[in-house]
Symmetry: C2
Subunit: 465 residues, 2 copies
């Protein structure tokens, strides 16, 4: 295959092997965390009918449509969604396929499609690529990976699953090789109840203004609460006082109560949020914390209780890298409703800025811990056999590609970061293995020798951490 | 998200969680095999400019094009490939993006794009989704996963890498929980040299006919060799005699030589094929074999030496599930050429028919080995703590969703295939754990108890194997 000029595509990031090692280590860690808590793996197809992708409405412009290049050669298959709907005139119809832009819409469809084969409550994790046609910038890509967990039930999902989902993602996040993370939790009942309790005439309008609080100075927010949400100055002041509350324990409850607002929904939300924060007690370290943050609103309108966002220290401009919440109806087929609670980690959003700023990489660019040297080209079978013995003990090994002088073979290993070079026994010499970082060389038996555990696989390296 | 009617999409298969466990186990196994041999992980973007996808020519009609739904709202970005090229009139231009239909084309582009950052010879594995708009049937899907390994060099790639690639994939395949596999190897130099040696006037025409040998009876092939490739009866007979040769050791060399055909390229091909077969000696078991099969031609024209195909016993109608070979130029930027040798396993093609015919599944549909029962709703914190102790020992655990009577909680575990139910200690009773398959119940300490190793994770189950 001859490819004249490779074309970098803005928004479609690709990794070098050392970075891909780190990404795989992160994905493995997430998967292990999720499975330890009983979450089952699901993968959905990349494409969904456009009509299902557009149900959320507001982000329709980000969808990538699919069209078969030669679609017009074949008749449409009746009764079946196809990708050729837009072939004739460039427009999209209901049977057009698009690439999914999140994992929630396809998971909702999967739950309905397989509801007779799943046991509820159903816990699943899903780690996949997604595509959005938005303008690329740091933290925003056209192709990216997310890792979602959700618990979904039939008809009723008890509140304790909100606590569960927070704990599972908190545990998963706390194990990642990244800067300090803060999982921020709030509750829509709490803030909606509060806004109702102060007598706000248009609660959704208050929510929309409060949602901008990270981007707009507080005094402008106060003005907007009056002009756009119809509050008086005292009400606006109370909203800002609420949004100012954050705590890593349930002390926030007393601070909210001290504002003197009464509402049943507020009380319910306070109790729920306290339960989530108490449930995550003991998980806080210097690298990870869970806190109640009463500013968090989540713009999308389908959350009905707990809401989550996550900030990464030093990378606040990325916004939230891990978000989610409780929705009373993840999916519904008209007869049955499926409430859910879930949270989604933006793996690419979290890792790419770390890779690009050289804050995260791997100790080597190949899996090999050992390079078996080649005394001469006729000795390849012997070197292959040594490599086979090492591999049988789980040691990733490659054999030198050519019988150059040993100095060149050592430099081959050096360029790849391979820590050990094995010199095969000959008529006059025994097996020896050299740590090329220290120069230390020792006699060794290929059947029993093992490298130090930390050299067995490429290590995650955080240059400035 | 309300989804009225879920729409199954023909050609876009999805798995239930138990099947996905098996697929993940297979992918983990492949990855471990490839890494043991020093192959580094690469993942490429899903989309490539259409002009690069179509360089192979013949399969252009299978490409899915991408188009942003709202692309016409924005001006094109000059000098950059975009997905909006086909928005205006439904036609595709050079800057249109399409989904990749294999991993070779994107890898070739990746090698050129990153040639200054990679060390050659470069070994990589790549396990990803691909998309082809062809008509779905068993073994052929519109979305599917392949696992590729390739070794690519700058300018010259020594032949021993052909042996290496065969051995690595053979070792990887031999560890998979599938019916018996046969890796069939041939060499294009061998058959081209043979056809030249018999005096065939049009060697490519002979190759095209021989490539149909699995689908067409031998007597028709003989007729076609005469009518379509210009051979005489004696030449056609020799070609069929060659195609009839297969062997799991290098005894095929003498059988070819006995046909009395002389050609330098034939001799070179025979030596190479013997080296691959000898290099895989000792890997044959009752579940896996490597053999020289002199019928294998591989229709695509870019292979120049070793060629591979793979058959799965009882699933011969799928054709080859794992194919590849040597190509003198994987990629070229005009100045430098990158020869390669590689092989690609059709993971979906191999597994889906096994899932659909109920020949492969997992022992349970959840990762959980233990369900911690809930004596009453107030005891949730205690049951959560026990679950936490078990998880700290690597035991996947979930807590019962509701404090129903124990019989119902046991049935909750049963429906999911969870083998153990943990009954928390109370004021009058110690901790006990029950194997719900046998009914055996024993005293246990959550800090130290461990299930049998085979119950720790879902097991791969082969019902009729």
């Amino acid at each position: 295959v001859t490819v004249a000029r490779p074309t970098p595509l803005s928004g479609f990031p690709e990794l070098l092997p050392a970075e891909r090692f780190v990404e795989l280590r992160v994905l493995d860690s997430l998967r292990a965390s999720f499975e330890l808590h009983g979450f089952a793996p699901v993968e959905t197809r990349a494409a969904e009918p456009l009509e299902q992708l557009l149900r959320k409405g507001e982000i329709d412009k980000e969808v990538y449509l699919l069209r078969r290049l030669q679609a017009r050669d074949e008749p449409a298959e009746p009764g079946q969604a196809t990708a050729e709907g837009n072939a004739a005139d460039g427009t999209a119809d209901a049977s057009t396929l698009g690439l999914h832009f999140d994992l929630t819409v396809p998971f909702a469809r999967y739950v309905l499609e397989n509801s007779g084969k799943l046991e509820f409550p159903f816990r699943r994790y899903q780690i996949q690529k997604e595509w959005r046609g938005e303008r690329p910038q740091e933290g925003r890509y056209r192709e990216f990976t997310q890792a979602d967990i959700d618990v979904v039930a039939r008809d009723v999902l008890p509140f304790h699953h909100d606590v569960e989902v927070a704990r599972v993602m908190a545990e998963a996040l706390s194990k990642l090789p990244v800067p300090a993370l803060t999982l921020q939790v709030n509750n829509r009942k709490l803030i909606e109840g509060f806004f109702s309790g102060i007598g706000a005439p248009d609660v959704p309008a208050v929510m929309r203004v409060i949602d901008k609080i990270d981007k707009v100075p507080a005094e402008i927010i106060a003005t907007m609460l009056v002009s756009e949400a119809g509050l008086d100055d005292r009400q606006a002041e109370l909203c800002l006082a609420l949004a100012d509350i954050r705590a890593s324990d349930s002390s926030f409850v007393a601070r909210v109560q001290a504002l003197g607002v009464q509402h049943d929904l507020l009380a319910e939300g306070l109790a729920e949020l306290a339960a989530v924060i108490d449930g995550c007690a003991g998980m806080n370290t210097d690298r990870f914390s869970v806190e109640a943050d009463l500013r968090i609103a989540r713009g999308l309108d389908y959350y009905t209780g707990t809401v989550f966002e996550t900030r990464m220290a030093g990378f606040e401009s990325l916004g939230s890298i891990c978000s989610g919440g409780r929705y009373d109806s993840l999916a519904s087929d008209g007869r049955t409703s499926y409430p859910g609670v879930g949270i989604s980690l933006g793996v690419t959003r979290m890792l790419l800025p770390l890779f690009n700023r050289k804050k995260l990489t791997a100790s080597r660019s190949v899996p090999s811990a050992v390079l078996v040297a080649l005394p001469d080209e006729d000795a390849r079978a012997g070197s292959d056999a040594i490599a086979g013995q090492l591999r049988a003990n789980g040691i990733a090994t490659e054999v030198a590609p050519a019988a150059q002088r040993y100095g060149k073979q050592i430099r081959y290993a050096e360029r790849r970061g391979i820590p050990f070079v094995w010199f095969p026994a000959g008529p006059d010499n025994p097996h020896e293995v050299k740590d090329i970082r220290t120069g230390a060389q020792e006699l060794a038996d290929p059947a029993t020798w093992r490298p130090p555990a930390e050299d067995l696989r490429p290590q995650v390296v955080r240059p400035e951490a």
